[in-house]
């Protein structure tokens, strides 16, 4: 009997071994492999961004991240207090990190300190044996030129979000750094390399005992931008800290030479990890520092729009070129009074086409707009780039808005009021543009109707262009007039540069109507937006610059004009440096008046939300997302005094 017991016992044990070694062998084999192999990511450095001359705009700096190896929970629990003390991380934070990542595979280490100090590195190295669950990986962090230089164009990187991971088809993994905005986002696929994997054999106490074949990291590609470092610098400095935007384009190619938006965060602050408080502060800042005003601020272009009205007039010959208007400082349409910007100070008298542009006479363009009608105006504006995106290679560009009969019917289910055309013809009312749009449109008109797609990538393939044939005489007259604005005693006369055919058009767009302004008193918040779009030379320009200074309380020629002048002067200085030496520049310091539209329409527009506009009353308009054409714009504003310069 004892023999049977022995045989039975051995048989049962063998069955147990059979189950483990034959039936479930694969499962245990993979568990043994996971025990043995530790995979540590090798982070691929992102590609650099260079300016058009090959100067570094964005590069990387070396940094260490501290990883916690979680495959042994007992070891983790035991060492948490020591790690907390040694690395100066509150133990609650470590526990948070562990609990938020508990669904990830255990063999995947987590980052507990993204930016290790020298002391941290020393701590980890000296505790290799007694705290074997800490590991460091070298990470290259983004380094941007400090102070927010070109920050909105470059964008910034951040840890990839859940939604991005899901839509990336496995390309992104948690903890990856990807472009969040700007060029970093636009060209993320180029800039981002492929991470490698360092695989090592570890023993039961976590000590590395040998290497396995390593999967090398493939660094991201470097991209060359069209940005000119020198011009960018001038643009940054010239705009200073005033809220607004600068865009400089080469209208011949669409290359963006400079792009500035203010206020700006410093993207270096995001290169490691943004604290929740900081993020909240940035998002709730009423000045919206994260907004790239160059492509996202949708604002009334003010008198800059008169160039479009003027082009439409000459092309349609409605009214004929010889048309003159008499400007007593105001005009009456449909029984309501519309003011010219000189109202209360003087009058323009008899105004012809050229004088209307030079002096930015509102009365002349009210009449032109009335004669053309909104449909013709919208046709020309749309053809020349207003109301739709420029197609710049940056994410989240806004389209602005060109109102039309069709638009009010679609959005507001009402008829177009003829009075609205009066506002629109001088760039007020519902029409909004971005700085980039204005630069492209004015540059394109000066190019004779060739509108290049703006872009920041130097060797961009298939740069799009829109052609809209503008007759030669029209281009001649328009560009001559814009030359006159600066060089023949127009609203930009203070910007005159010797030896440079600087031409352009100013614009001073009201943020709120006169009636509202009077009610609230003259608060800075509701000051006018100052525009100036300038280019040089007068025909077939090489550079066009659009500058917006928001709520400066100054008119376009005064607030924005000098920025345009500085950039264009810098462009020529650089161009002539080797051949002619420095160009002497003469400055004229006349303070000229500037036209604004008296139509009582608000037109400050911040980012996005261009869909489903809501009707907003006067005062709240300043903070509203988008302002529909106000019924007010048809009412005649009460005569106001002293608000003009």
């Amino acid at each position: 009997m004892a023999s049977y017991v022995i045989v039975g016992m051995v048989g049962v044990l063998l069955l147990g071994f059979w189950k483990l070694q034959v039936i479930d062998s694969d499962k245990y084999l993979s568990m043994a492999e996971r025990n043995r192999v530790r995979s540590i990511p090798v982070i691929a450095p992102r590609g650099r961004m260079l300016d058009r001359d090959g100067r570094v705009l964005v590069d990387n700096r070396p940094s260490f991240s501290v990883l916690l190896l979680r495959d042994d929970p007992a070891l983790v629990d035991k060492n948490l207090p020591g790690i907390s003390e040694g690395l100066g991380i509150p133990i609650e934070d470590l526990k948070d990190d562990l609990s938020t990542t508990r669904n990830l595979p255990k063999f995947q280490p987590i980052v507990i300190k993204p930016e290790a100090s020298d002391a941290d590195v020393a701590f980890i190295e000296s505790h290799r044996s007694d705290i074997p669950i800490l590991e460091m990986i070298s990470i290259s962090r983004r380094r941007y030129i400090s102070g927010g230089f070109m920050a909105h164009a470059s964008g910034y990187v951040g840890e990839v979000g859940e939604a991005q991971i899901e839509s990336s088809n496995g390309r992104f993994r948690p903890g990856d750094f990807v472009g969040k905005t700007g060029l970093e986002k636009q060209y993320n696929d180029l800039l981002m390399g492929t991470d490698g994997l360092r695989r090592v054999i570890v023993n039961s106490v976590g000590k590395e005992v040998g290497p396995l074949p390593t999967q090398e990291a493939i660094p991201g590609k470097q991209i060359q931008l069209t940005i000119d470092y020198d011009l960018q610098q001038v643009a940054e400095q010239s705009l200073g800290t005033r809220p607004g935007a600068v865009v400089a384009l080469d209208p011949r190619t669409g290359e963006v030479l400079a792009m500035v938006s203010r206020p700006t965060p410093d993207p270096n602050d995001f290169s490691v990890r943004v604290s929740k408080e900081e993020w909240k502060r940035l998002n709730e800042d009423p000045l919206h520092p994260l907004l790239n005003r160059a492509i996202q601020a949708q604002l009334a272009p003010g008198s800059v729009f008169k160039i479009i009205t003027a082009t439409a007039m000459l092309e349609d010959k409605v009214p004929p070129e010889s048309y003159t208007a008499f400007c007593p400082g105001y005009a009456t349409f449909y029984g309501r009074q519309f003011k010219c910007w000189v109202y209360g100070k003087s009058s323009h008298g008899v105004v012809n086409f050229r004088k209307a542009i030079l002096d930015s006479c509102d009365i002349f363009f009210y009449n032109v707009g009335m004669k053309l009608g909104i449909d013709r105006l919208a046709y020309y504006a749309t053809k020349m780039g207003i109301g739709h995106k420029t197609g710049v290679d940056l994410p989240s560009e806004e389209s602005g808005l060109m109102p039309s009969q069709e638009w009010v019917e679609r959005v507001f289910h009402r008829k177009w009021y003829a009075g609205e055309t009066i506002s629109v013809s001088t760039g007020q009312g519902a029409v909004t543009t971005t700085p980039l749009q204005l630069a492209r449109t004015i540059g394109g008109i000066a190019m004779g109707g060739v509108f290049k797609q703006p872009h920041l990538l130097k060797d961009a393939q298939n740069v799009g262009e829109e052609r809209f044939n503008i007759s030669e005489p029209t281009v001649q007259k328009i560009t001559d007039a814009m030359y006159g604005v600066v060089n023949d005693g127009g609203t930009g006369a203070s910007l005159k540069l010797a030896g440079i055919e600087l031409s352009g058009k100013s614009g001073t767009a009201q943020v709120i109507g006169y009636s509202t302004r009077e009610r609230l008193g003259k608060q800075k918040k509701f000051e006018d937006n100052a525009w100036f779009v300038g280019y040089a030379p007068r025909r077939n320009p090489e550079i066009v610059v659009a500058v917006l200074v928001q709520e400066s309380g100054q008119h376009g020629g005064t607030a924005s004009g000098p920025v345009v002048r500085d950039i264009i002067k810098a462009y020529y200085d650089k161009k002539n440096k080797n051949t002619q030496g420095q160009t002497t520049v003469e400055y004229n310091h006349y303070d000229f008046g500037e036209g604004t539209n008296p139509a009582d329409a608000a037109a400050v527009v911040h980012a996005a939300q261009s869909e489903a506009p809501a009707k907003i009353e006067g005062a709240s308009a300043a903070t509203a997302a988008i302002i529909p054409p106000q019924p007010e714009s048809q009412t005649v504003p009460p005569p106001s005094k002293g608000t003009r310069r």
Partner: protein
């Protein structure tokens, strides 16, 4: 009574099986420890084996009747030694099990196992009735119970448990009545049940023992805590597959994932590197060993000899069962070594001395 039986009378088959098992053990100890701070351990094991062989032959020469005659004295020595260990023994791994003898630390409880085999054999051999009476059963229980409790106090649950099969097998052979068997079984089930029932086990088990029980019942709950050892052992065994990873190639073994891979879990190391075929060989050898012991017991010339050999068989069989079942996660971790394969001086000497008793009985089977 004829002295000095000839060398022909030794059980050469048994010795061959023993040698094979020892070889497997030494090979695996070498594989598990070479290139580690424990390197050279296989040679120390060889030394113990040599000493063990010598002691086995020496013990086989001394007539077992003389040994049985001294059973009461041996019993007293054993009890005193156990008490001495508790009072002034040397602690290792959190338990007082060792006393220094001849410059080595020996586990007293291993010696006591041998003594209990002898004492139990003597006791049942003297019960001359066909049926084991209840007073005799209780006497036997007390005889074994005293050292068992003392060993539990060390604490060493594994070794204490080894005393039970000696008693059980002896009682069966001595004509245990089924009513008594039923009662004892019931008590046994209650005892085991209380070990697994936390409210009771809290009072009778040490914390580390409770942890082992818990991790045996719920290994996945605490994969790196107490269940770690069992899980790593199972990974080692399972990943070995049918053919094994090859000598010196077991990652669980070589990288130290298998706990005490040269001793209690040596079967896991062997199973990982040699696979199911290696397990087949090893368990086959153990089966042959046990069957051979049973055969020797049947051929013993008297009841005392039979009881002695069956006591040895019961002890070794229990060792193999509990150790191997632990390695495959079928029983809780009890710290019982695998006879002759696990590294360890005291345990090895116990096995050889026990086999020495078997040889002793065999050598005298024709003598009368």
């Amino acid at each position: 009574m004829k002295d000095a039986p000839g060398t022909r009378d030794y059980d050469w088959w048994l010795l061959a099986i023993l040698a094979a098992i020892c070889t497997v053990g030494v090979i695996e100890i070498y594989s598990a420890t070479h290139g580690s701070p424990l390197a050279g351990m296989h040679m120390r094991q060889v030394r113990w084996l040599v000493i063990g062989f010598a002691l086995m032959f020496a013990l086989s020469r001394l007539d077992y009747h003389l040994i049985l005659d001294q059973a009461p004295l041996l019993y007293v020595i054993g009890i005193v030694a156990l008490i001495a260990v508790l009072v002034m023994g040397h602690s290792r791994f959190g338990a007082k099990r060792w006393i220094p003898i001849l410059g080595e630390f020996l586990q007293v409880s291993e010696l006591v196992k041998l003594i209990i085999i002898i004492v139990v054999a003597r006791f049942f051999a003297e019960v001359r009735t066909d049926e084991l009476s209840l007073p005799d059963l209780i006497k036997a229980g007390l005889l074994v119970g005293l050292p068992l409790v003392l060993i539990l106090k060390q604490p060493d649950l594994g070794t204490a448990l080894v005393l039970l099969p000696m008693l059980v097998v002896g009682a069966f052979l001595a004509g245990l009545q089924w009513q008594h068997a039923a009662i004892v079984s019931l008590v046994g089930i209650l005892a085991v049940g209380s070990v697994f029932y936390p409210p009771v086990s809290r009072h009778i088990l040490k914390p580390y023992q409770r942890e082992r029980v818990t991790s045996f019942l719920h290994p996945e709950e605490d994969a790196k805590g107490s269940g770690y050892q069992v899980l790593q052992s199972k990974i080692a065994v399972g990943s070995g597959g049918f053919w094994g990873k090859g000598f010196g190639n077991g990652t669980q073994n070589q990288l130290g994932y298998i706990p005490v891979r040269y001793s209690d879990f040596i079967m896991a190391a062997w199973a990982e590197e040699q696979g199911f075929k290696g397990v087949l060989l090893a368990l086959g050898l153990y089966m042959a060993l046990l069957l051979r012991l049973v055969q020797n017991a049947q051929r013993a010339k008297d009841r005392a000899g039979m009881f002695l050999v069956m006591g040895v068989a019961a002890a070794l069989g229990f060792h193999v069962l509990v150790n191997v079942a632990m390695v495959i996660g079928a029983m809780p971790v009890t710290g019982i070594p695998l006879p002759l394969m696990s590294y360890g001086g005291s345990a090895t000497l116990f096995v050889f001395l026990a086999i020495g008793l078997v040889m002793n009985v065999r050598l005298r089977r024709f003598v009368n």
